[in-house]
Symmetry: C2
Subunit: 342 residues, 2 copies
């Protein structure tokens, strides 16, 4: 909102300006010493590297100063902002959709890959080929309007529960990351999610859960067709891949949607490596963060030896290039919002 300052308010404006300067100043002093900044992050090198970077790019007298418009941060979603075990949460949505649809498709009970899903054989599900998954996605995620899909996603997110924690999936998010998003926003960053998950699925909860609006969500997508239904123009989701927002697809889509390189990237697996490299190679100073799932008791422990969220090459690259490896065990004072704080 633009506010005009008529002559008679000039004195009040000067007072206000001093007040703002004072408040901002006391705040930046507070930041260096006050444990209320990122309270769910333990003190240590990870937290320090974040605070140090943000101070460096936001201080106007810093040689690394970045104007607000260029403070773009990108976050992977699965395994970075929320958990991704026992498998990607969108997989549970797919299974529940299939179960709801089977009454109209009784033949699926004897047909693969549907049968495996309906029987709940998790081992077999984890071994699905890409072709199986594409077929399942086509059946459960397309052939309806974008708006109908949004309603389905929102309803499911309200009612479904994570099998380990018996809570809605939208609560299985990392409390330290929610605080980091707030902290970055407070420092003028614009945050984008860059997810291998479906763009419309992530958009169904990103605003409410992360405060990230749909236009700042990038993800995998199917093609859509513009058409009229019931006298109203709408978009129908087609069973044809638009973009697979994974690995090299991530920087490609960052360029398509954002149009400039981010200065901060946070990922957790080899699927994020290209996005991390692209950000690291910014001509400006950038911060690269990699979440290491090393806490089997509070969350899950996995890296090189897993199918979902495999962290292997990216771990080596992070070590080689000195990126910040964030350990859930060491750096997260609290993991989920529902965990008791010590």
């Amino acid at each position: 909102m633009v506010i005009f300052f008529p002559q008679k308010h000039r004195m009040a404006i000067i007072i206000l300006a001093f007040l703002v300067i004072h408040l901002v100043f006391s705040r930046s002093i507070a930041m260096a010493t006050n444990p209320t900044v990122l309270p769910s992050w333990n003190e240590g090198s990870s937290k320090s590297s974040i605070l140090e970077f943000v101070n460096r790019v936001t201080a106007e007298n810093s040689p690394d100063y970045v104007p607000p418009a260029e403070r773009i941060a990108v976050f992977d979603n699965d395994g970075t902002l929320w958990s991704e075990k026992p498998f990607y949460f969108q997989g549970f949505f797919l299974i529940d959709r299939l179960k709801a649809m089977v009454k109209d498709h009784p033949e699926w009970r004897n047909e693969q890959p549907y049968r495996t899903i309906l029987e709940g054989d998790r081992e077999a599900i984890a071994g699905f080929t890409e072709k199986d998954i594409v077929r399942l996605l086509a059946v459960t995620h397309t052939g309806m309007t974008v708006e109908e899909f949004q309603t389905l996603s929102i309803d499911w997110l309200k009612n479904a529960e994570h099998p380990r924690f018996n809570r809605p999936f939208t609560e299985i998010v990392f409390q330290p990351q929610l605080e980091l998003l707030d902290y970055l926003r407070a420092n003028g960053f614009k945050i984008f999610i860059v997810s291998g998950g479906g763009i419309e699925f992530v958009r169904a909860f990103s605003e409410e859960v992360y405060g990230i609006p749909p236009e700042q969500v990038i993800g995998s997508s199917v093609k859509t067709r513009f058409e009229e239904r019931d006298g109203r123009s709408t978009l129908v989701k087609l069973p044809e891949l638009g973009s697979y927002d994974d690995r090299e697809g991530k920087p490609v889509n960052i360029n398509l949607h954002i149009g400039r390189r981010p200065i901060l990237a946070f990922g957790n697996s080899d699927n994020d490596l290209a996005m991390l490299q692209y950000t690291a190679d910014h001509r400006r100073s950038s911060l690269i963060l990699l979440l290491h799932h090393d806490d089997g008791s509070r969350e899950w422990a996995y890296d090189r030896d897993t199918r979902i969220g495999r962290l292997d090459t990216a771990l080596d690259e992070a070590t080689r290039r000195g990126w910040t490896i964030v350990s859930i065990q060491r750096d997260f004072q609290r993991v989920y919002p529902f965990d008791r704080s010590d």
Copy 2:
């Protein structure tokens, strides 16, 4: 930026709050009567329909109130924000690129479609087939990194001049539209350009000229490939169409990039019709604007009988559905920023 309010500042904050309320209040009174709102728009039904709509969706006690996050406005670029005659300005860029490249490709002097361009035969250029254009775009717009293309575009925009006005193309923008963009932003709208032009070409000037950052520019695009060049990861533009952001492609890309329907759309030709329909069919109140080029002396006059910027079906649909048809002759008090105000 988040500012913490310690106890001792409470009184100052209260004073500040009253001040802000007072300033905002005096402003909203001013808006209804003050001709300083949209000064380059003549008083009349077009200007009224804009002011009335914005007041209606921003007044919190209005039944049509729209929360700020959903105040999405989309603008076509060619012919809506800047002129598009004698042909799309990006065409001049293409021609200049080709002329600069011909010294390394002397064979083009005898080869079509290059020869037509190099000889400057505008009639023949206007008659190019889509295949010709795709070939010319491939040669002039791809095979380089995104960053190299950005540099080429920015340099060209600095030096090239429009043949009629002998001024940089970035000055051939509509002054009333610049004011409308500011007015919408001041009222909490987030504005996106949705252009048939190349996404990276439009991004090269959108921030400076319109105040619209690259992540709010949607346009036609070629595919890109993530690769390492000179030890640095980068994206290379490929001679393969990614998306043609025109006609039905516009709502498709609005959904892909924004993820919700706009409540305001402004276009000028049949190429924008699908975008206008998509916005008009929002379940909320929406405003649809169509710019009619009817001023041959100050700008250009054309509608049903032209190749570039043809306005035919969309004009009928606008009349039928009661959309706001903005006349350059009648509604624009001033056309370009360099025009003298009366």
